[in-house]
Every structure is written in structure tokens, then in C-alpha cells.
Amino acid sequence: MFVFLLKRAAQAIGIVLVVAFLSFVMFQFVGDPIEGMISENATQQERDELRESLGLNDGVIVQYTRFVKNMAQGNFGISYYNKSDVLSLIIERLPATLELVFVAVVISLVVGILLGVWSAYSRNGLMKNTVQILSLVGVSLPSFVAGILLIVVFSVWLKWLPSHGRGEIVEFGYWSSGLLTLSGLKAVLLPAISLSLFMITMIMRLLKSEIQETMRADYIRFAKARGISERSIKYKHVLKNSILPVVTIIGLQVGGLIAFAVVTETIFQWPGMGLLFIQAVNYVDIPVISAYLVIVAIMFVVINTFVDLIYLLVDPRIKVS
């Protein structure tokens, strides 16, 4: 177990280093940072001094090493646009994104698993086909279209839910939560639903086909032959086997949700990392962009390691070796 974790940690560090390199390369190719930092009528000598003091004359390897070293100490540099520390900018926005993704994951798990199980076992053909067709729509509808539709229906027509912002938030030190106030909960609903639509349909369709596959397995037939109750067969024997691939997909998707949140946050003006990222892209604020990339990469890696651990718990056949 320990060796397994160690291996995963090593892999994780490797991945993060690669992403860090990619975001470092951006600095090299996307314009000259000196131009943005110094007044237009500065002399050549002033420019050279600034260049020297920023260490831009050193070799690429030296610069990259310094970049990684600073990053490891939490120093992602100063935002060109906000003129403030990048890390604190991101940390300030992090809770909003994580809460949004968390609510979206909970919604997609609950709805996706319920719908998947229901559509696998239901005998009501008409309802089943309707859900299947709707799920196709869910898979193929881009999240910005879904988001705008939700705003039109629930905010503009029905006026039930706010179309943007986070509502009232409660601060706890570094963390700010919108899940404890009514207006916060109302505000998170629409963006979370729009973010979770894809994952709901994904989980539902996967679980349904897995259940149907498992129902044909020999061990289910044998369980029936032993007179095991239909209820136990459906919800214990079949479900436990069918849920495994779903766990994998969820793991991959949670990372994807953080990435997709960029779009959703833009539509709903959700003050999270994604919105910060889009703004940074608009202003070519490279320190923010690269820090965002590295942090999202770290999250991806951590989540996937977690999923592997969950997999170990759920499937006895997988042995740590």
C-alpha cells in the first residue's frame, strides 16, 4: 500500500513538472514581459537592468529550475493586471469553484445513479425511451447552451433563481462558503445543474449498460438458481459489479468538471478560478494563466490517485503489487 502511494506520488510529481514546463514555455513565447512592465519611454539601460534583475538573461534550464523552485514554495509571481500575488488571487477564488464542482458532483451522482438504475430495471418502455432520448440531448448539448437555457427559463421567465453571482457568503479564514445561506444555495443551483448535465447523462448511460451486461452474467444466473431474492440480486449482486466502471468515469470527470467550470463560471458570472482564468486570458496575464494550469493539474492528479484508492476498496480483485 505504502509503495503504491509512493509510486503514485512520483508519477504525480512527474505530471505536474511537465505541466509546469508547458506553462513556463508560455512565458517564453507569448510576448516580452518587459514591455508590459516598464513605461514606454524607459531607456535601453533601464530595460537591460530590469531584464537582469528578473533573471531573464539566464539560460532556459536555470530559469525553469527557478520557476519550479518558486512554485514549490507557493510563489507563482505577481499578476500583470491586478499587480497582486497570484497565489492569494487564486486561493481567494478557489472555494467558489470547489463548492460549485462539489455540488455538481453530488447532483450528478445522485441523479445519474438513480436514473441509471431506474432505466436499467424499469419495464415502462415509453418512459424509458423518453429518458434515453433526453439523455442523448444531455450528452450532446454544449454546457454554455444548457446554461443559457437554464437562465432563460428559471431566472428570466420563472424568476425563481438568480442568474449570476454567488449570493451571500460566510467567511471562515481562508474559506468562503455559499452553501450555508439560502441565497447562496439558490445561486449555486443553476450553475451546478448546468455543469452536471453532461456527467448525469454519462453516469446514467454507463450504469444502465453495465447493469444490463451484468444481468446476463453466469453468477447472476447462479444466484437466481439458488433462489436469492430479486431485490438482493438487483441491488447487491448486480449493482456492486456494475458500479466499478462508474467510479473510474467519475474520477476522470471530476477533473473535467473543474476544467469545464471555466465555461459555466463565465456564463453565470460565478466568482471562481475559471472566471479568473478567462479574465487572465483576456489581459494576457501569463502568471495567472500558468498558475491556474499548474494548480488544476495538481488537482487532477490528486483526484485520480483518490479514485485509484477507492477502486482498491471496491474491487477485491485488484491487488496492490
Binding site: Y219, R221, F222, A225, G227, I228, H237, P316, R317
Partner: protein, 328 residues
């Protein structure tokens, strides 16, 4: 067989699959009895309808299959027309089954303990700890060493032979009256096959369980069965005591089957084989279904379908009267 009580009888069973080209008659007029405590072998080629007959008795047919005629009577009660709930109450408790592949018959994510105790508790009014005790005793009975520790393990931690022993323990755990064993040893090594067969035979004789042993292996039949039913293309063509079938087969198909078994001490240049192959169920010939391959074919075989007729030894579905053996 007359002195024993009939526990299950299949009477004129016909079964069809719905198919876009029309119904496929997979079983036609199957009739046989199973007596208390006997081991009835059912032998035939792949697709002859052996397993299908077993599934029909278990009530585990696919949705596309339907019984169109005949009945299955268990201890005087007709069971083929029972509703799902009453059928399920019979399964496991009264009639149980063992399937071909031990590697896929056990649920991979549940421990042996979970699978055994759940089956026991489904049918018997025991406490959890009593059920566990019974489960461990059962595992010991089927020859699993250190049963108390190994019961906590998952199926993938056991070898194929061990898994089939566990499957047998699961099938017999609440002392069913009948076990349908569908090719229980086909997926096993030859050396393990015999052990598992003997185990099955011993347990069933001890508990007085009646067994329907589906196989395509005449050697297995000769080793453990009391009586044999030979099936061909969805029909029973010959049924009788194992000794009579092996020594004095009467139906040309049974004769062919027996001739295709190698025997120690008999010198032959080449093993004889039955020419041709079993017809597809969609293209069955008229009359006797075996006549295109039969070496004793006579006038009328291609028009009249023979019924099972009792001879001095076995019951045979063949138009010929005389024993074929003299012609070999």
C-alpha cells in the same frame, strides 16, 4: 426404477424461441421422469437442447423462449405455469443448479461467506452466526481445507477445481431435492474432473438428492449416472439404465456416440464417427430428425416421426424394431 418414487416428471414438453423468421422449435415433445435419489444423465451434442431442458425445469428461461405445450410436474404439482414468486420459492430450496464454468459462477466482488450465508439465510430461519457455522461445515464437507479462514476470501483467490467445489456447496447448502448440474466438470482439468464428479455423486447419494447431470461426455455418464437420456436436435431419442445404454445401445445415434469413444484394449485403425452434423433448428428434416445421418435408414424414416417405445431394456425413438447391435 419402478420401485422408486418419481419426484419430477417432464411430460411432452415443447419449447419455442421467437425469431424474426418465425418460431424455432428448440424442444419437441420431451418426456422423462426423475426418480427419488437417482442420477439421471442427459447427453447429446451442443445444441441438442440439454441445457435448455434444465433451464425450463429451473424456470430460468430467456424472455425469448416460451413453453408451448406439455408440463413439468414436481412432487405431484405442476410447476411450469407457476408465477414468478412461487417459482423463486422453489429455486435453491427444492430445485437447485450447478453451472458449467466455476470461474464465472461466483460473484467476483462478494466473499464466499457472503454468498453462502445469504443463500442459507434466504431459505432457512437461522441466525447469522448459525448460518456461518453451517457454511463452514459445508465447505469442509466439499473438501476445502481451513474453511474457517478461507471463507473470508474472494472467488479469485481459489483455483478452478476449488471454485467448483464451492459452487457445489452453494447449490447443495439448503439440501434441495433436485440438482440440475449443467456440464459441471467441462471447464475443469481431467484430473480434477473425476474428483469433483465423485464428490458430487457422494454428496447426492448421502443427502438423497436427485441429480440431472447434463453433459456431452459419455465417460462422465458411465462413471456416475444411474440412468441416461440421449438427446438429439431437441428430442429424447433413447432413455434407459446406464448399463443398457452403454452395453446395448439401440438408437443409431446412441450407437454412434458409443462407437466414437476410444476404448483401452480394443484395436482400431480409426475411431468411427457419425458422419455429418446436427441439423440447424431452422432447417430440421421431416420425419426422424436423425435420418440424414443414419446408417440404418429405411423406407419411411423421412416421413414418420418416431415416438419413444419401451423395449426390453431401454426406451427408443426409432422406427426399426430389431436391435441394431447385430449389424455392427
Amino acid at each position: 426404477m419402478d420401485d422408486k418414487q418419481v419426484i419430477l416428471s417432464v411430460k411432452g414438453l415443447c419449447l419455442e424461441f421467437s425469431h424474426r423468421k418465425g418460431a424455432i422449435k428448440a424442444l419437441r415433445d420431451i418426456s422423462f421422469d426423475m426418480c427419488q435419489g437417482e442420477i439421471l444423465g442427459v447427453v447429446g451434442e451442443s445444441g441438442a437442447g440439454k441445457s435448455l431442458t434444465g433451464s425450463a425445469i429451473m424456470g430460468l428461461l430467456d424472455d425469448s423462449a416460451a413453453i408451448t405445450a406439455g408440463e413439468i410436474v414436481y412432487q405431484g404439482q405442476r410447476i411450469d405455469n407457476l408465477d414468478d414468486a412461487s417459482r423463486q420459492a422453489l429455486r435453491g430450496k427444492e430445485i437447485s443448479a450447478i453451472f458449467q464454468d466455476p470461474l464465472t459462477s461466483l460473484n467476483p466482488v462478494l466473499t464466499i461467506e457472503e454468498q453462502l450465508t445469504e443463500t442459507i439465510l434466504t431459505h432457512l430461519p437461522l441466525s447469522q452466526s448459525e448460518a456461518l457455522e453451517k457454511a463452514i461445515a459445508l465447505l469442509e464437507e466439499v473438501g476445502i481445507a481451513q474453511a474457517a479462514e478461507r471463507i473470508k476470501q474472494y472467488p479469485h483467490q481459489f483455483s478452478g477445481g476449488m471454485r467448483q467445489r464451492i459452487v457445489i456447496a452453494l447449490a447443495l447448502c439448503v439440501d434441495p431435492f433436485i440438482v440440475i448440474a449443467d456440464e459441471p466438470t467441462t471447464a475443469l482439468d481431467v484430473s480434477v474432473q473425476s474428483q469433483v464428479l465423485q464428490l458430487l455423486k457422494r454428496l447426492c447419494k448421502q443427502h438423497g438428492t436427485t441429480v440431472m447431470l447434463v453433459t456431452h461426455d459419455m465417460g462422465v455418464i458411465a462413471e456416475v449416472c444411474d440412468r441416461v437420456a440421449v438427446m438429439y436436435a431437441g428430442e429424447v431419442v433413447e432413455i434407459g439404465k446406464v448399463h443398457d445404454i452403454v452395453k446395448h445401445p439401440q438408437h443409431p445415434y446412441t450407437v454412434g456416440l458409443m462407437d466414437s469413444i476410444p476404448r483401452i484394449g480394443v484395436r482400431k485403425k480409426r475411431l468411427s464417427q457419425i458422419s455429418g452434423s446436427m441439423p440447424r433448428l431452422t432447417e430440421l428434416p421431416c420425419g426422424c430428425k436423425f435420418h440424414p445421418r443414419c446408417q440404418f435408414k429405411q423406407f419411411g424414416c423421412d416421413t414418420t416421426t418416431p415416438c419413444l417405445k419401451q423395449t426390453t431394456t431401454t426406451a427408443v425413438a426409432c422406427l426399426r424394431d430389431i436391435s441394431i447391435e447385430e449389424h455392427i
